[in-house]
Amino acid sequence: MNLKRIGKKYRYIDHLSDIGIEFYGNKLEELFENAGVGMFSIMCDLELVEPQEKRNIKISQKDTCYEDLLVLWLERLLYLYEVDDVLFSEFKVCGIHKKGWNLVLTAEISGEKIDLNKHKIKIAIKAPTYHMLEIKRGDRYCNWKGRIIFDV
């Protein structure tokens, strides 16, 4: 990893039809948080979104892996954004742990109701995809790295 990238949460990846991000974290929880930040920063200017509305999330999935859990997490964020009209800007993943055969993620997220005049809306994301999807151990600069492509 490039030294300059230390401390960076994510970066965009060029993809001809769609948009992807590579995201980083020292803990798995942080990696998932930064994937959320990266996804919503594709959609709007996150600095303009205030953490007014809170939601608690719990995802429990049987026989799954971190990659699939990541897709589920991002899908859940998109669902809440679309159904509740909320753009999210703060993501706190409280834990990712195994419980029996299940992987369980708990999180608290916050954001603000969409205001077209206030938030600089860029583009809507349709869904996260499995294409080029990856979560792996990082290097000496960060412990975890991930990559995902979104359909826009």
Partner: protein
């Protein structure tokens, strides 16, 4: 990947079947030299090869001339699978299930609207729900949504949206058979509840266009079009409901590939046997999303009619606002095709490809029986769109399919870096095109420069014989989400 390309003619190329990549069939690419080189440079051909490895694929993995790099399946890809031994793949349809185009004619001429275009566009912009976070004007209960998903356009007509005759000019007469709401998740239902009649964002648009050139006068007469006549084009899909159904079933099929022992080159190609319980469930849910998308475009057309009625002070009937045709370009369907001299039921996937049925086909409206199915090709906002006609050759060469649009040339990030949305708006205004967009960044991503020249794409389909040029349309007013 290294592969061998064999030239069949100037517009058709074969990627030879190579066992090294577990290809079951060859790849066929409809393109001229330039479009082929472009596909090769961006590794799209690797995706054509990956599709050729899927079980039960028939004849070939096809690529239309607008092909470009997608996720899993290429965009502009066509693949047909044996109903008994083949597979069905949500990724081969795409997230925006039944994304498609509807075109309306009017009896207005360019002279009738030229000076009032800006006002009409503003009124449309105000009245058409569009862009990020848009909610429709129609509020549905869960039961009403379930009825809509089962009945398609019939539901809309029964509830006062659109004309009775519209449905005869929609693929499948506006109602896709086999829709089963038991297979649609509550998450998908929630997302679909208040988005009926919304345009969305991205490459979706609503355009006022003018007939710019006629290539086939007989066809123009059947389509009810003359030079300088005003038309309206609506490009949208199944919105959040379709996206969620695709996501739900890609997850189901991650398990299916293990259960049925299917080897994949890319996880996004996840699939299941057509005849498996998982396959039947996906087909039932996908059919619901197709019905939703057709109703969505139908209701958008209804809002267009109401705006035109108010604006011109005449009924939409008097304004001649009839539907020319409505056709999807992200779809999988069970169709009957000739395979090795025998009629066979196959599951045709068109991901960024349009059905192109020939004259006389039983599934096209009587009005077009003599000319073939209208194939509507949306172009970019600065150049043209086209109406093509289906051909007999498409049936034998590409499972009754042709291209779907221009195809991307430049990534969204690159487009945003190189093009200013506000500059683009001015540039198009100077060319006589009025653009209304919710997001300037979004507009830059959809700039004409970001797309291939759609005229070249349709020329290839014309010379390859998989569709025939009939009408060229030029944009006058563009509404983007």
């Amino acid at each position: 990947m290294d592969y061998k390309i064999k030239k069949i003619n100037d517009y058709k190329w074969e990627i030879e079947k190579d066992e090294k990549y577990d290809m079951r069939v060859p790849g066929i690419i409809f393109a001229d030299r330039q479009l082929l080189d472009h596909a090769a440079n961006e590794k799209t051909i690797d995706q054509v090869i990956n599709v050729a490895t899927l079980p039960g694929i028939l004849k070939a993995s096809y690529a239309m001339p607008d092909i470009h790099f997608g996720y899993g399946f290429p965009i502009g890809g066509v693949a047909a699978f044996d109903e008994d031994s083949g597979v069905i793949s949500p990724g081969g349809v795409g997230f925006d299930i039944s994304c498609g185009v509807r075109t309306l004619r009017t009896n207005l001429n360019i002279g009738d609207i030229k000076d009032r275009l800006e006002d009409i566009m503003s009124t449309l912009s105000f009245n058409i729900p569009k862009g990020v976070g848009s909610k429709g004007k129609i509020r549905l209960s869960k039961n009403q949504l379930m009825q809509l998903l089962k009945e398609g356009v019939d539901w809309a007509i029964r509830n006062g949206y659109g004309w009775e005759e519209d449905k005869y000019f929609v693929e499948e007469n506006g109602c896709m058979a086999g829709a089963n709401t038991d297979f649609v998740s509550s998450l998908a239902m929630d997302r679909g509840m208040d988005q009926v009649g919304t345009l969305g964002s991205g490459n979706h648009f609503l355009e006022i266009q003018v007939v710019d050139e006629i290539y086939d006068t007989g066809a123009a007469e059947s389509l009810g079009l003359e030079k300088d006549q005003i038309t309206i084009m609506i490009h949208s899909g199944s919105r959040g409901l379709g996206h969620q159904i695709c996501s739900d079933y890609i997850r189901v099929m991650q398990q299916s590939v293990i259960k049925y022992g299917i080897k994949l080159a890319d996880r996004q190609l996840a699939c299941t046997p057509v005849s498996s319980p998982e396959g039947r469930r996906y087909y039932g849910a996908m059919a619901c999303a197709i019905n939703y998308a057709m109703v969505n475009r139908h209701c958008l057309a209804h809002w267009v009619r109401t705006v035109f009625e108010r604006f011109f002070g005449k009924s939409s009937d008097k304004l001649g606002l009839g539907t020319i045709y409505d056709v999807s370009h992200n779809i999988a369907k069970i169709e009957e095709h000739n395979v090795d001299g025998k009629l066979k039921k196959v599951c045709v996937h068109r991901k960024g490809a349009t059905r192109s049925y020939p004259p006389g086909n039983k599934d096209i409206p009587d009005r077009y029986k003599s000319i073939g199915q209208p194939v509507i090709i949306p172009g970019d906002m600065g150049r043209y769109s086209f109406i093509l006609l289906g051909t007999e050759k498409a049936m034998s060469e590409s499972f009754g399919s042709t291209c779907h649009g221009a195809g991307r040339l430049m990534s969204r990030t690159k487009a945003k870096k190189n093009i200013q949305g506000s500059e683009l708006k001015k540039e198009l205004f100077n060319k006589g095109i009025i653009v209304m967009a919710g997001s300037m960044a979004g507009l830059a991503e959809e700039a004409p420069q970001a797309y291939k020249d759609v005229s070249k794409v349709v020329d290839v389909t014309h010379y390859a014989g998989i569709s025939k040029k009939a009408i060229r349309l030029r944009p006058l007013g563009v509404l983007k989400g």
